[in-house]
Each structure stands twice: as C-alpha cells, then as structure tokens.
Symmetry: D4
Subunit: 169 residues, 8 copies
C-alpha cells in the first residue's frame, strides 16, 4: 500500500463517523491516508510526536477533527508547518464551540476551517491541494466535480418530468 500523504486525526473515537467521510473521499481519489485517534488533551505527547514526524513520514496535509473546546487542529497547526484543515465537530445539542475554537487562530499560525462535521468537503479540499502538483489527480477531481454538476442537472430534469406535485424526496 502507498505511503499515506494525508494524516487524518481525531480527538476521540466518537468522532469517527465524521472523519471517516474524509478518509472515504480520499480513498475514492486514490489518495493514501491514515486515520488516527490522537487527543490534544489526553495524549498530548503522542500527538506532538505524530506531528513532528509528519513530514519525515511523507505526510503533506493534516486533517484534524475535534468537538467542544476543540484544540486538536490548533495543536496540529502549532507543531507542523504542513497545511492543516480543521473539521469542527458539532454534536447534538452543541452550539458553535468547536467552530469558535478554531476560527480565530492568532496571526502567524494559519489554520483552514472547514464546515462543521464536513468530512467530505475536507477530503475534497485535500484533493484540490494535492492536485496542484499531480495532473492525474487534477483530472479525476475535475471529473468528480463535473459528475456532481450532472447529478444536479439530472435531479432538475427529473423534477420537471415528474412534476413537483408528485416528486418524492
């Protein structure tokens, strides 16, 4: 199997369903990735080690997801010079705690914030970044986006054909 180029880390295994979407999306594009449970608060040493050795192990992008007062992506941005993409995990009954814990990083330590629970878009942004220096991947990504356009057009065509009165969700 190929060496992972994207490291997907989460603060708690309970976030796996969101993070899995990122991994699945990368898999669809053939982008090698690894998925790890690393907690900023409970395994800080392991997290730091992971980040400090990321470049040497061939990683190019870090995707980090955590909920509540979510510090994992910030820790990743502090310990690594790779692009870090944060997925704020918003659990039932929660407010924007995780989003706010990520969106206001201090000047000098960049962190890209993706949609709350947005595993898929985060995987896609990683693809778009890696595609900058990988023409085959760029082509796949264009096809993916085009297929998506086609799907919306098909949904529209079908709605016209059925009539909105009869169309099911």
């Amino acid at each position: 199997m190929a060496n992972p180029v994207v490291g997907i880390i989460m603060g708690s295994k309970s976030d796996l369903d969101v993070m899995r979407e990122a991994a699945k999306t990368l898999d669809e594009f053939g982008v090698a990735n690894e998925v790890r449970v690393l907690s900023a608060h409970r395994t800080p040493a392991e997290t730091t080690d992971y980040l400090k050795t990321a470049v040497a192990r061939g990683l190019k992008i870090i995707i980090a997801g955590a909920g509540g007062s979510a510090h994992l992506a910030g820790v990743a941005a502090a310990h690594s010079y790779l692009p870090v993409l944060s997925i704020p995990i918003k659990r039932d009954g929660h407010d924007h705690e995780a989003l706010f814990s990520n969106i206001m990083m201090p000047p000098g330590v960049p962190l890209a914030v993706m949609p709350e629970n947005g595993g898929k878009n985060t995987g896609l942004l990683a693809v778009a970044i890696l595609a900058l220096s990988d023409k085959a991947l760029a082509k796949k990504y264009q096809s993916y986006r085009q297929a998506q356009t086609d799907a919306v057009k098909e949904a529209d065509r079908k709605l016209q054909a059925e009539g909105w009165q009869n169309s099911q969700l």
Copy 2:
C-alpha cells in the same frame, strides 16, 4: 523573594493588562507568583516544558489567559495535573470565541473557567484555593471579602445621604 506558587501565563504580551490584575491581586495577599508569555501556538515546546516542570518548581496553581481560539489553558490542563484557571480574553469587537474555546473541555481533563477578562476574580479564586491549607491566608481573604461588603454598604449609605438626584457616578 518567595518561590512562586502560582504561575500566570498568557498567550501574547498584548494580554498583559488583564493578566496583571491577577498578579496584582495575588501580590496583595502575599502569594508569590510569576508571570510568563507562553504561546500554545507559537512556543509550544516552551509551554510544555513550563507545565511539566511546574510541580517540581513548587507551583500549585496555573492561571492561563488567551484570546480568540484560545488553547493555552487547555494545553495547560493537558500537560499538568495542577488546578488550571482559565481567563478567556475578550478583545474589542470579538464574540465569545475564547470562552467557547475553554468551557467545553472533554470529560477527564478539568479546566475552571473564570469571567472574560476577569483577572481579579481569578487571582481571588487562587487565593481561596490556597487558603484551604493556609489559615493566615484564609483570614486575610475573609477580611478582604468583608472589606468589600463594607464598601458596598458605604456606597449605599452615601447614596442615601446625597440623594440619588445628586449622586455622581
């Protein structure tokens, strides 16, 4: 000078005016303290070192302040088993980003959150904690609280005497 028992750390020197209130309050009670600039994002190694050696150096309480997506207190809570008191720094035009970055810590890693920009109350809570095993300090703290009660009573008395029509703010 006495060995510091309270470590006051801030993510950026721009937060000094808030954090100084905590130090001043501790000084008033004769509680030895030290004030440091340690950034979770910009000097993570120094921050970790500081926290890991805290107990050995005699610290008993950590007071941590930071603004925006504020991870410093969480990092302190992760790397130290001492009680950590967080001061969310709320700057002009900011929302509750710092509060939300601190108030929802994951189960297992406790962090006490104090008022936004509340340097004074944070110093006082440290005093109340240390007073649990220091009778002289407990007595001083009771006098302080009583003096405060007296001040409100005096303000009330004065307002009655002057009449609310004439009283100045």
Copy 3:
C-alpha cells in the same frame, strides 16, 4: 463514614443525573461528599444556612449546579469563602442561560465555571484542588489521568488494527 469535604448542591432534584456524576467521581477517589437539594429561589434560608455552616462542618469545596437563570452557585459564592465550582445545567431546548448566569460574576466574588452538564470534570477539579495538600490523592489523580491517556492510546491502536472501514462506534 468520613466527614464530607465536598458539598454538592443542586437547585432542583431534576438536575440529579448531572450532579451524580460529580459525586460518583469523588467516590472513585475516596473523597467524602454529600449531595443536597437546595434552591436559591425556593429554599433561600436553608441554602444560606448550609453555606454559612460549611466551614464549621468541614467542607472545603462547594459544587453547585442549576439550570436556566441559575443563581445557586452565585449565592454559594456570596455566602461562603470556600472555592465554589459551578456546573451550568443546560436542558434540552435551552440556550446558554445557565452559563451566562454564572460566567460574569462581579469583581470580588470569584466563581469557577465548569462545562455545561460537566459533572465529571467538576469532580475531577475538586480532586485536583484537594490533592494540593494530600499526596495520596495526588498520586491517585495522576494514575487516573494516566489511565485515561492509556485508554486513548488503546482506542488508537485498536482503530489501526481494525481499520477505520470496519471500526464500530
């Protein structure tokens, strides 16, 4: 049975499930505690009595939980010089009313605010405070924290072994 050193009070018995977590956590560490229903608004006299006699009865820490416009912890902070830890109770469909009712205490009356519904972390902070003058307790607390670290490491190890594709939540 040992004399309680932590008093856990709640504004309404309906908050018992949250507050029980604090008691359970203290029990795990062998910290004697008592759990009481005392309402700032419905039994203010009993609440005041409880707080005024707290030191004499041997209490060292007050944990107070209430929901909505939650005044119980503030009343505790007003009537006692002990460290008071507030648990804002956030019920279904509620906003941050309880958090806001606790986080902005006036200068001079310190109150530590813990996570919404965060009984466990509040129990742990009480342990961390008591551990400052109790070496055996400090050791237990370190083991607890270490066990937690180990659990996250184990979750990570297991996820690697199973693969994220197959791992169940």
Copy 4:
C-alpha cells in the same frame, strides 16, 4: 415625605444612571420611592433583610437592576412575595448575560423582565400596577401616555412640514 411604595435596588452604584431613570419616572407621577445599593453577592445579608422587611415598611413593588451574571432580581423574587421587576443592565461590550440571568426563572418564582437598561419603562410599569387601585394615578398615567401619542403626532406633522430632505435628527 411620603412613605416609599417602590423600592429601587441596584447591585452596584455604577448602575445608578439606569436606575435613576426609574426613580425619576416615579417622581414624575408622585410615586414615593427609595433607591438603594444592595448587592446579591457582596451584601447578601443586607439585601435579604431589606426584602424581608419590605412589606412591613409599606413597599408594594421591587425594582431590581444588576449587570453581568445578575442575581439581584432573582434574590428579590426569592425573598419577597411582592411583584419584582428586573432591569437587566447591559454594559458596553457585554452580551445578554444579564437578560439571560433573569429571563429563565424556575417555575414557581415569578420575575418580570423589563428592557435592558430600561429604567423608564420599568418606572412606568410600576405606575401601571399601582394605578390598578389608585384612580388619580391611573388618570395621570393615561395623560402621560396620551402626551406621548401627541408628541409622535407632532413629530410626524413637523416632518411633513419641513420635508424629510431638510429635517434634522
């Protein structure tokens, strides 16, 4: 001077400018009132005494104002069976902490919440309540409300006369 029938209390003298509006409004209607600084957190004993003796001293309505995590009106509602009108004080840079600290009282302890910093409307509501059993006051209040209607009509008439192009704020 007449015996006060409305007690106006505030948690800190810094709230005087808002609370003064309530007193001024009551004065305009000849409703005897008293203005006191009583803090739920700093002078709880004095506050309780004040409330417990309110009926005996002839008070009929309590107006209570406080900012931040504002517990004064809730304390008043707990210790008195009189109607309590709360003025949430919203200071510069604050959010709705005081409003939220008052609006969600538990079932059984009623508290009427007035506009943030709304001293004038609170005075007026007290007048409307007292007018229920005071015909002369009811008549004055009707005239006041009518005068207000006339003032808006006059503002409208003047705007028409000047033209909106030329009218100054």
Copy 5:
C-alpha cells in the same frame, strides 16, 4: 361566575398548551380569567376592540402570548394602559425570536416579559399584582410559595434518606 379580571390572549390556538398553564394557575387562586385567541396579524380589529374595552369590562391585567415575530403583547401594550405580561412562545427549533420581539419595547410603552413558555410564572405574577389590594389573595399566595419551599425541603430530605446512588428522577 365571577367577572374576569385577567384576560389571557394568544396569537394562535396552537399556543394553548402554554397559555393554559397561566389560566390553570389563576384558577387555583380563584382569580377569574378569560382565554381568547386574538391575532395581532390576522384579527387586528378584534384584538384592538378587545383591548380598548378591557377596562370597562373589568379586566386588570392582560397576559399575552405569541411565537416567532411576536407582536401581540406589544399591540396589547399599545392599546391598553393596564399592566401587560408577555409570554414569548418558543417552539421547537426556534431561536429567541419571540423574546427579542418583546424585550426591547420603546421607552414609554412598558411591557413585562416573562420566561419563554412560562405560563405558570405569568399566572403567579398576575396573582402577586392582584394581591397588592386583596389580602385574602396575598395570604393564599404566601401559602403557595411556602408549600413550594416545603416541597424542595422534602425532596432534599428524601434524597438524603434514599442516597443519591439510589434516588430516581
């Protein structure tokens, strides 16, 4: 049957469950009341008529409840000089629209805002207001409040007896 002294109005019959609590509470105290569906937006003429004739028909207090952009209580406050108590109706999935639609009335038109969906407390405040000139009612209200205090004390006693480990919600 006695002439109603409290008029309970709601913008839509779908709010009946909340408003019923106010009527039930008044019934418990023997305070005659009437419950009407009157919409500020759909039956404005009927609403205005109701309010303009309120005094003549013997009403002393208006309780108005509505959800969303809730104007009913404001309309009541505009057309009547009686005390108006507003119940903001907060439906599932709604934010504080109704509360915000009521809490910031312009200076000169007072409106008392009660808890979101707080039918019971609103009934109780009406009782407290009417009790100012009705000693028998005042006595009943004091008994009610005392019974409530007793209930909390009993809940506390029972919790001590059972132990928090075994007590059911």
Copy 6:
C-alpha cells in the same frame, strides 16, 4: 397551460418540501409558476442562463431557496433585475447560516428575505406583488386574507364554546 410568471428555484432537491409550499400557494391563486433545481455552486452556468433569460421567458418574480451558506438568492439578485424573494432553508440542527447568508446583501443589489422555511408566505408576497397590476388577483388575495381572519375568529369562538379546559390542540 399558462406561461410561468414566477420562477421557483432551489439549490438542492432536498429543499423541495419547503419550496413546494410556495408553488402550492401560487397554484391556489392561479398564478402560473415553474419549479427548478438550480445550484449556485454545482450548476452555476445553468443557473446564470436561467436568470438571464427569465425576463424574455415572461417571468416576473424569482423565488429562491437554499440552506447553509446559501448563495442562490444572491446569485439570482446579481443576474436578474426582477424582484427576488429569498427563502432561507433552516435544516435540523442548523443555526441561522442561511438567513445571515441572505440578509446582508451589499447596497445596490436588493434581495427580499422571507421567513426561514417560509414557503407559504413567500408565495403570498409574490401574489401581493402581482396583484398590484391584476385586479382579479387582488380580489382573490383579499378574500384569502379575509378567510384567514375568519378562521382565527372561528378558532376563538370555538375555544370560548368548549372552554380552554377541554379544548384540544
């Protein structure tokens, strides 16, 4: 079938249930309309074409609905000079993202924002606009509004007849 005069567009077919209400309402008034799935982000070219040819095809009003960071109505307002009515779609667990994505359009590009998920009112506003130059439609709209008034009056009458104690929701 008549030529559509109202174009109803949605960013995703998953919004059909909300948008259908607008179409149904227009149908009730005999206002010809068409319903399309057009995504600002996934089929931008088709969306632009649709908007640019709207006038030529006889459309007079555009109703646009989308959720999350909802740009469809803004795109409609950018590419068309017709009145555009936006329906912010608020999905379960979402905050006001869609409302905020529509309510602050830059000066010069007007966009009317309707209630979150408010398909019916949006259809009605379209009717009210078209009624400005269609007397028959104006008459129908007046009857509709009157019927609505009658329905509230009937609900009130029925509640009086049944008594609030017995009335079912």
Copy 7:
C-alpha cells in the same frame, strides 16, 4: 407633484437617517413617495388609519422601519394587503432584536425583510417591483444596475493601475 405610490413609515423620527436613504433612492428614480412618523406603539390609531386608506390614496408599496422590538412592519402587513418591505433598524449596541421581530411572521401574513438599516436596497426593491408594470422605470433600473457594475469595474481598473501598495481607501 405626483401622488405618492410608496409610503415610507418609521416608528420614531430617530430612524430618519436610515429611512431617508429609501426616499432618496426613490426620488432618484422619480418614484413619488411620502415619509411619515407612525408608531405601532405610540400612535396605533393613526398607523391603522394610514394603512387602511393606503390603497385608496394610491399607494402600492409600504416601506416600514423600526428598531428594537419592532412591530411597525408587522402592523403594516396586518392592516394592508399591499407588499410591505421591512427595514429592521439596528442601533449601536443593539443585537438582532429588530430583525428577529420581523423575520418570523406567522404563515398567512407575508412580510419581506430587507437588510438591517438597508434604506437604499429597500428603495431599489420597491423600484424593481414597480418596474414590473412600468417599462420606463425598468429601463432606468437596468441603467442604474449597469452603472453600478461599471463602477466596480472602474474601481478594479484603478486598483490595477495604482497597485494595491499605493491605493487609498
């Protein structure tokens, strides 16, 4: 002078600066309008009269602006079948009270909400509505929108020419 076709009403003259922008914009397009101070809460009778006679006097659109718990536009929507455009007035230190007071109208009573303090866009939407049956106005509106496009293009061209380093705001 032409008969007004747009009625601009505001709840308080203090809102004139915002509402003036709407009138100015209509004047630029030669759309006759009138500007009135009419308060939902202080001159409800005059407001109702104004709305009930609006059609007879030739009005086609109502623009209503008010701040705080802003009911004026809702009252306009209740008493008139014309399209009503609401401008929520957001004053310094206020939150979205006015927006929330307008955005959640009940089904059956449509109200279009424009940007907070958005006088200009509201005037433009009125123009776009009136242009549906006035070709000359439609042409003017298209030119206006085109001029605006040209202005942005010119700003871009100038920025390129000057360089962003030297360009002044």
Copy 8:
C-alpha cells in the same frame, strides 16, 4: 515580474485593508500575486471570467474576501477547481454574517475558511500549500515560523527582565 500564482479577489474596494495583508505576506515570501476587485453581485460576469481562466493564466490558489452576506468565495469555489481560501470580512457593528455565509458550503464544493479579517494567516496558508512542491519556499516558511517563536520567547524574556509591574503594552 513573475506570473501571479495566487489571485486575491475582494467584493468591494472597501475591503482592501484586510486583503492587502494577504498580498503583503505573499510578497514577503516572494510569491507572485495579483489583487482584484471582483463582485459576486455587481460584476458577476467578470468574476466568472476571472475564475474560469485562472488555471490557464497560471493561478494555483484563490483568496477571496467579502463582507455581510458574502458570496464571493462561494462563487469562486463554484467556478474553479483550485483551492479557494475565504476571508470573511467582519466590519464594525457586524455579526458573523460573512463567516456564516462561508462556513456551511454544501457537500461537494469545498471552501477553506480563514479567520475573520485574517489576511495574514490566509497569506501564510497559501505559502504552506505552495511550499508542498517548492523546497525553497518551505524553508523560508520554516524560518518565518521560527522567527515568530523567537519573538514570543523574546517578549517573555523581556517581561521577566522588566517585571510585569513596569512592562508597557
């Protein structure tokens, strides 16, 4: 001059001060960039053209900034397959409208959101992305980050030397 590889676009020239920070940061690293005023709402055709030709002209990253209901970055993400970094512009007195207009993009159209007004961090993230395939740039970026670490260490050292009592902000 080198061909631009980063395109910086803003919806209005009034956002230049924020966007300039991104350009300045890229300049510091020798990354060729261009700065354009392109409005999603006022020059949609020009904006689309710019985005569609971006790859052909050699651009690798788009940085888009806009305020209020900010659609520019979403339009960029719709029309381009390059990584798009959004800067939500938060103006005085605004809430998180721009952030919410960007953070909840639909699945399939990725958009990275940077801090409100965070020109500098956005420039740095672009550098980090470009550094993935440019070793010299990676080295510069590491030095930059290291210099920043050194600056915080120096601030800390200086604070210790001066003492917090004397240190100026």
